[in-house]
Amino acid sequence: MDQLLHQVVNGLATGAIYAVIALALVMNFNSTGHINFAQGEMAMFSTYVAWTLIAMGMPYGVAFLVTVAISFVGGMLLERFVLHRFRNAPLLSVVVVFIALFLGFNAVAGWIWGPVLKDFPSPVSSYKTGTSLVGAHELFVGAVAGAMLLLLYGFFRFTTLGLKMRAVACNPTSSRLVGIRVSWTLALGWGLAASIGAVAGMLIAPLTFLDPHMMTGILLYAFAAALLGGVDSPPGAVIGGLVVGVAENLLGAYVVGAELKMSVALVIVVLVLVYRPQGILGRVTVRRV
């Protein structure tokens, strides 16, 4: 029983990370209509930046914030100088751009930091929770991911910039007609998604070690989470992330074994696409004309 509970709690912790990345995917999808398959590699790259800052002697907290800021600017620049040019390009060109970004980040990270696994620190590694049920880092992950989800909710729900971003996601032409600078808003959205990814990368790296491929599998889980929740629904991404995290852990521990865990994500993707393409909370908008 304890063992089962332990798996569930662990699942919730990794699930929170999937939720965070799924949220970045959903945000991007809502404003551009595309799934950014390079999101995970961008997060991996950000995590390497954080590792470098920490290796240079920067305290964890400072390195964390600086990395979030650098990722924000990097995401914006990427949108302004690369994706912006493909705004009206056919789907295939956009997919090619994402693949190029994916491979590019992966190659550049391998080139700068080498293929050797690196330890990424957890700020809470020296603490003990006093129970075998949940480790200190899992608690930290849950707390940070939860705080971030709340922050994002508040941002979109209560700030003017959040309202503008939702408007652009909803109707870009009408947004321009009320005077919103749409292309800047999209760039901000990319910056925000990159920051979110960076946080997820820094949370997961202590669990997986840091290497250029660390996010590949995680992106797949996050994608499954986003699809499961409804690819256009931010709350859906959170629920989907938690469900996928727990399912992955339980099935990995009791059913398919650790080696086949990855296939859980693929099975979820296929099942959702076949049986419920709009996901749990995806929109079937009520629209009268």
């Binding site: 503008k164 109707n171 321009r176 007609l177 009268r288």
Partner: protein, 259 residues
């Protein structure tokens, strides 16, 4: 060709000269001249595909154009849409352009988003909803769930939130029940008088539009073929035959006259 001489020249709010517009390389407007006086109400008439929507898009910088567009004396052609809007041109687009997933209130806040004074935005919402009491009851409702008429009302009040000097309306009667259409046109008349907003109304329903407007322009395959006061246009035989349905079918297009 012109049904009236433009002799008196009160201040023009909008003055387009030789305006051309393109979809890719294909031209859709071939040198259009159109003038709206301060406080004026102008109807832009024409059959389906004549270029009416294109004309409004061209004014707002939503498509590629050539020629001149002066707004309140300032040349605006080639400006980004966002900047044109900020000068005080509100566009109620074809299909209403509702932010369907957002609430009525959020739609209205977005209409006034260029004004940073939040207290005034709240006052404006109250003030403009007085024209549309039934929207007030639905303020927290998702805009996509409103009826067609309510969405048109929302689109107009959202445009008002910009506090525009000129409002462009693209077929505000489209798809609405006759009573709803009458109500909306009465409100547009009041808005023109009480808020001192000039209007450029695109309509296929020429009778309705000429009733409201003081001037009208007739567009045919991207060219203005006729313009004048509403009274002159209503008396014009070609307009009567093709657009007011005095003889023949309403939907019939007039013979094209070379521009």
């Amino acid at each position: 060709m012109s049904a009236s001489q433009q002799t008196a020249h009160p201040a023009a709010l909008l003055d387009a000269r030789g305006l051309r517009a393109y979809y890719g390389d294909a031209p859709a407007l071939h040198g259009v001249d159109l003038r709206i006086e301060v406080g004026g109400k102008v109807a832009l008439l024409g059959a389906n595909g004549a270029g009416k929507t294109t004309m409004l898009r061209a004014i707002c910088g939503l498509i590629r154009t050539q020629g001149e567009i002066a707004f309140a004396g300032q040349e605006i052609r080639g400006f980004a849409t966002e900047d044109i809007v900020r000068l005080g041109i509100a566009h109620v687009p074809e299909g209403r352009g509702t932010f369907a997933e957002l609430t009525v209130e959020e739609n209205l806040r977005l209409g006034g988003i260029i004004h940073s004074d939040k207290a005034r935005t709240r006052q404006d919402i109250d003030r403009f909803l007085r024209y549309f009491p039934r929207l007030k009851e639905r303020i927290r409702q998702q805009a996509g769930t409103l009826s067609g008429g309510e969405q048109q009302m929302l689109a107009i009040s959202r445009a008002l939130m910009l506090r525009p000097r000129l409002m462009l309306l693209d077929e505000p009667s489209f798809g609405l029940a006759p009573l709803m259409v009458l109500e909306i046109f009465q409100i547009l008349k009041r808005i023109n008088e009480e808020e001192r907003v000039s209007l450029l109304i695109v309509e296929q329903n020429a009778r309705l539009a000429l009733e409201l407007a003081d001037h009208g322009y007739l567009l045919e395959t991207g060219r203005i073929v006729l313009h004048g006061s509403s009274a002159e246009l209503k008396a014009n035989e070609e307009v009567q035959r093709a657009y007011l349905g005095y003889s023949g079918s309403k939907a019939r297009r007039p013979e094209s006259t070379p521009g």
